[in-house]
Structures are given as C-alpha cells and as structure tokens.
C-alpha cells in the first residue's frame, strides 16, 4: 500500500517525529511504500542540518535522511511554515526539499492512507 505521512511537530520536543519514524520503518519492512513525508507546522524543524543532539541520543534529522535515501522517500518541508521558523536552503539537511503546501494536498490525493503525527 502507498502511505503518506504528515509530521506537525519538531524533533525532541514532541514524540511525533519519533513515532512517525518507527511507523515508517515498520511499514517499509512489511513491504509498503512510503510515498512522501510532509513536514508542516513545527515539523519543519526536523530538517535542520545544524541539529546536534547529545551523543548518546538518537539523531532524528539524520535518521530521516538515511531512511529516505535507502527507500526513496520524498521528504518535503513546507516553505511557508519553514520561512517563519528560520528553515531555508541555507540550513536544510541534504535529502530534504522545500516546497509548497500543494504537495501535502497532493499526498492526500495520491496516497492510499495519510497518517498524521502531531501534538
């Protein structure tokens, strides 16, 4: 099945991005396809290449990057949400791309399921 994921909260602060990641990993292991992960609201903070968690902690940003690379997932960061939160190409991690909200609606249309993780 083709699944889309929406993440509305930033890394570390809320569990949303953690749960979404573990859900995505499990879905891929079961043979489903993750069509796209869309980062909205504070979710855009998941894409900052400057993120540096304590060494004994998970690296949420790089974990998404790797999963996306290994399984061809489109990681899309909402441009409007990103600009007002200080996320730009300048500090965007490789593997993420900034685009419009239309991509979220499109994910809803194209995916068999849209699964939302937020506050």
């Amino acid at each position: 099945m083709k699944l889309g994921i929406l993440i509305n909260e930033g890394p570390y602060t809320h569990q949303a991005s953690d749960t979404a990641y573990l859900f995505a990993k499990a879905a891929i292991e079961k043979g489903h396809k993750i069509h796209r992960v869309f980062f909205y609201n504070d979710g855009v903070y998941n894409s900052s290449r400057l993120t540096e968690p304590p060494q004994d902690d998970r690296h949420i940003v790089n974990r998404w990057q790797k999963l996306a690379k290994d399984h061809h997932i489109d990681l899309v960061v909402c441009v409007a949400a990103a600009l007002r939160r200080g996320i730009k190409d300048e500090n965007l991690q490789e593997g993420f791309r900034i685009s419009g909200l239309g991509q979220l609606v499109e994910t809803g249309i194209q995916s068999d399921r849209l699964v939302t993780f937020g506050d």
Partner: protein
C-alpha cells in the same frame, strides 16, 4: 475508520471527545501519552471500559513500556507494536489523528 489518540486523558479532553465520535466499526489506537488512557484504576478507566464494550481499543505497547505501565493495562485492550500500528492503518479505510 481508525482513530488515533496521543494525549493523556487526565490532561486533555482529547480521548473523551474521540470516544463520543465513534461509529459502529470504528477502532481506537492509543499512542504516545495517549496510552495513559489504557490503564486500570485511573479516573478515566470507567469511560474507556464503557467504550470497549462497543469498539476495539488498541494501545501501542512500546509506549506503554516506555512509561512503565506494563502491568496496568485494562483487560480487553489489545496491545500492538509499530508493525501492528501499520496493519491497523491498512485495515481501516481511513484514519483520523485526534490532535
């Protein structure tokens, strides 16, 4: 349809509101802080047990373990892992996150 709830019922009205909107054939999955809604002996247990009579209620076991609540889950609530979460998302034709 599948409803997911990720907030504690002793902090917010989310679970209560969700349970009021369940139709025949709907299920609830408790995740993150929502798993506190799956516990025996709390001020929200009765409300959840009542809903359980008519609807399947699932709880994400990794979140229950994380919070040390392994031995407190209401009988009848079904425990799933992330793989089971995926199965539920696939099984039900639509999914609503109660944010």
């Amino acid at each position: 349809m599948l409803h997911t709830v990720n907030k504690s019922p002793t902090e917010r009205n989310t679970l209560e509101s969700c349970l009021k909107h369940l139709k025949k054939g709907s299920a609830v999955l408790l995740i993150e802080d929502g798993v506190y809604g799956a516990l025996r002996g709390t001020s929200s247990t009765k409300m959840v047990e009542q809903a359980l009579k008519n609807h399947p209620i699932y709880a994400l076991y990794p979140d229950i373990e994380a919070r040390g609540m392994q031995d407190r889950v209401i009988e009848g609530i079904k425990l799933v892992d992330y793989s089971g979460f995926v199965d539920l998302a696939v099984e039900y034709p639509s999914i609503q996150a109660w944010l």
